[in-house]
Symmetry: C2
Subunit: 248 residues, 2 copies
């Protein structure tokens, strides 16, 4: 195995042990020496793997001490919140999606209001189940204004990146306003995500706009909290650099 892939293998294995509780929260991580022996690796890849887990909030400590387990869920950096696929790959898991429905129709009053539509306007609406390693992770309910969304009607949404496809089709997806809250799983969420009805889900609602402020997309994404959280770091009285890419 080449060295460049070894740190990914080590990180994936350690994430799996943390998720499974084999390395419990509050407990110590194996030492660097132990990890070097176990994975027949030099310090370099072991340290790279530990740095990745640290960036995801899974482990902490260090500074001369042994690292400790902080969390079982790899947090999604705010900078990647729009890119489910990229985030999945970053934490060593395989993204997937199963489109439940797509069609053109009249939106409900809340979606029509968010998209600033006229009374008779349709939207292109779609529902997708997003997967991590084949397991249900998130339910995505998205509505696009038809001028943008019709570009999605003739593609296979189980394989195509929606934002990449829309950008190629010339859509000016520029600014997004995200609202994070908690909701109880409704019957459809529960069935798709494999959780009990009423159990807590992390919801991200997103209004995507053009550079002139015209609404293009309204999305309601609901995450199983045992697979996803969102993290943001900032500094007192300082402007934190923050980049998020509108691709998926």
């Amino acid at each position: 195995m080449v060295e460049s892939a070894l740190h990914l293998t080590i990180a994936t294995e350690l994430r799996g042990r943390i998720r499974a509780g084999e390395l419990p929260v509050g407990g110590p991580m194996p030492s660097e020496s132990e990890l070097c022996r176990e994975f027949s690796a030099s310090r370099g890849p072991v340290r790279q793997a530990l740095a990745a887990l640290r960036a995801e909030g899974l482990i902490g400590g260090g500074q001369g001490r042994r690292a400790v387990v902080l969390d079982t869920v790899a947090a999604q950096p705010f900078a990647t919140l729009l890119s489910f696929s990229r985030w999945a790959e970053m934490i060593g898991r395989t993204p997937g999606q199963v489109t439940q429905e797509i069609g053109v129709g009249r939106p409900g009053p809340a979606v029509a209001a968010a998209l600033n539509l006229d009374a008779g306007d349709d939207v292109v609406a779609l529902v997708r189940l997003r997967l991590l390693d084949g397991e249900p992770a998130m339910v995505e309910r998205t509505s696009f204004v038809t001028s943008v969304g019709r570009a999605l009607l003739d593609v296979d949404l189980d394989t195509v990146s929606i934002y990449a496809h829309l950008a190629e089709a010339g859509a000016d997806l520029h600014t997004a306003r995200h609202t994070l809250d908690a909701v109880a799983a409704d019957p459809r969420d529960a069935a798709l995500l494999g959780v009990a009805e009423g159990s807590p889900l992390l919801r991200e609602r997103r209004l995507a706009m053009t550079s002139t402020g015209e609404p293009l997309e309204w999305s309601d994404d609901r995450y199983r909290p045992d697979v996803a959280s969102v993290t943001i770091t900032n500094t007192r009285s300082a402007h934190a650099a923050m980049v998020r890419h509108l691709d998926d």
Copy 2:
């Protein structure tokens, strides 16, 4: 009534009607003329009030059309996430808090790990119920390293701003890492917040550090989702300016 206060009165009244469902989501707002008549106001304060509601995500539309109701919950801008009191005042509601307990003791393994403590180290731990207009809104569970937290043992936490007090005492609260997810209300959350056990809460976990990265505080804040959400706006491939103040 002086004009400078009138827009606040109008905004507070309109927020109340939206929260109560008298102005339902997806429905139109009263026109500017109607609001001017009702509140015996000129255009200025009416437009200021509508602008405030727009900034909070409660209404949208406009651009030559009548504004529409988008949401019943005023979103908390990310920039104020650390300042419950300031956020409450911004949305025209009165903040409050009731300290449930404060004391010095041994932390659990997860908190000890997050704060990078030695085996025998204590923390100053406190639990507060935060209120909006006297109604339960959030449960705050905070643990400070003792060198910082002992400054809190001799003050009335129902009236004092913790961060302001710690800053005065010389604490170097510089950087914070926030993780947002959804959790089910445990029995204590349920009792304090007046919700059913197991119902969804928006959780913000926060690790506050010094300018050199030394952990000072670990907090677990749980919001009733019908009173609070968190919102962030960003722009494609641009660095969004983001400021959050560490005061409360």
